[in-house]
Assembly symmetry: C2
Homo-oligomer: 299 residues x 2
């Protein structure tokens, strides 16, 4: 497991370096536009840390399909930027109204709401530019990546899940199925797409792309269940945002619906399902370990 | 000029039909996600009318390069969705705080701020999905379109211009050069990209793509100058939003900096420059007329 953690850390360092380079490249093309603070806002949110799980999944599946990390850089950077954009919007007053994100002021707290929205807007668009410009991928690979990224973020993915989550605020109760649908959109869609995008970068087969999607669907669900558990069991310092903020707003979470013990059991079961999807990859040891590592967070 | 107007109207009808079909296709893929109101919000903003100038430019340049309208449908729809997303954000309380858009409640007035933001988010992502899925374009064309669209919307295009515009609110004065830079981003970038995207859809040469970009840059600037003029000379009914709303907020406009007469003269001069870019197109009559039609709005 130590090896797994250091490999995840190495992927995180790699994507952070690549993100820095891409942001600098974009800034170098801005001409006369006076946009220092929107670049500062994007940098603020991109460099606030985080586990960089989505890029790690992209690199890992790319390598599991026989690709090199260079082939996955653009997709990994694109996905982390897209994820960061979603966090900026999620923290806004009309959504979770969070002042802190990863122990730092959320983007709108640090830069004001208009600049934060524009930074988020920029971080939705930049990934498509970065994929389109990448020298390591074919036009067919780029087209497939663009489609996956747009769909996992859009109204049938993360945005749709975010909307359902917002509606839950006005509900007396939700079913477990509704909660799952919401999570598969809000947090699961990007994780599922990351796994598939990694296979596309590495030249994987259709069978591998499909299996990666199923793995990602399970891992994404387990990941969200565990986030709900951490929200009530962590300290504010560990979590990087106020503890119990979900419970406080009377949100429906897996913990609220299932209780902590059953939530942990469900996370284990869903995680086990992820393991069963990896047979079509010649070397899946790291992908097995990643699924376990996600679960270890709560033990 | 009557022919020009009816051809623009025909393009508008065509893209509106295509947008309706694409929105229905996306909705049909949503699975269990309960997202009726974000689709309603997207539809509200997309169907509020407008001149559909950007799609018309895409169709016109595609045909000027020898392409068919079918080749331009995806790009035209994508651009109009992207433009509509920018209007949703532009109307938000942290930006222009407009209650009306094209004689109808702005998206956040009709659906609330969170749903409006999510509708805008969805309308930024959907265009990339639509381009990637299009059956009429090659992967190389799709990659080029994705790059152009992402860059014209992003931090070096519309978003960057929007940020500069926002900063102008706190300024004592701005130079004509700063105002032009802001406009070339905020409104010009999408118009310029539309012209280039049309050439890409129609299989145009590099020379044609470049000329189309220059034409679009001039037309976009003329278009904004004329918008500023209309803001002070139109009735609320004609304009579809409160008259003088730009002047009221003490914004810097071409009219404020130049006066109405000089602004009209400048619009004519910039428009003339657009005409001079069209020599490399075998049949550019319609493109000449379009530049004139944009100017006729204020006569």
């Amino acid at each position: 497991m130590t090896d797994t953690k250091s490999r995840i850390a190495a992927y995180a360092a790699r994507v952070e370096q690549y993100i820095t380079e891409q942001l600098a490249a974009i800034k170098s093309r801005r001409g006369a536009l006076a946009t220092d603070d929107v670049f500062a806002a994007m940098h603020h949110s991109l460099s606030a840390g985080g586990k960089r799980i989505r890029p790690a999944l992209i690199y890992a599946f790319c390598e599991a399909c026989g690709g090199t990390p260079e082939m996955a850089d653009a997709a990994a950077c694109a996905m982390e930027m897209s994820h960061t954009a979603s966090l900026i919007f999620d923290d806004l007053p009309s959504f979770d109204d969070d002042d802190l994100r990863r122990n730092q002021p959320s983007c709108h707290k640090a830069f004001g709401e208009a600049t934060a929205i524009l930074a988020g807007y920029g971080l939705i668009c930049a990934p498509f530019e970065i994929i389109a410009r990448d020298p390591h991928l074919s036009a067919e690979q780029k087209t497939a990546l663009v489609q996956l990224l747009a769909e996992c973020e859009g109204v049938n993915g993360m945005v749709g899940g975010q909307l359902m989550d917002k509606h839950f605020e006005n509900r007396e109760s939700v079913t477990l199925e509704e909660l799952q649908t919401m999570c598969l959109g809000k947090t699961g869609a990007l994780i599922q797409a990351s796994c598939k995008m990694g296979c596309i970068c590495g030249g994987g087969t259709d069978e591998q792309i499909k299996a990666a999607g199923n793995y990602g669907k399970s891992v994404g669900l387990a990941f969200q269940i565990i986030d709900d558990i951490l929200d009530v069991t962590s300290t504010e310092e560990q979590l990087g945002k106020p503890i119990g903020s979900d419970a406080e707003e009377n949100k429906f979470t897996f913990v609220n619906l299932l209780g902590i013990d059953q939530a942990k059991t469900t996370a284990s079961a869903v995680s086990a399902q992820a393991h069963s999807e990896l047979d079509c990859f010649p070397d899946a040891a790291f992908l097995h370990d990643m699924a376990d590592t996600l679960l270890v967070r709560v033990q």
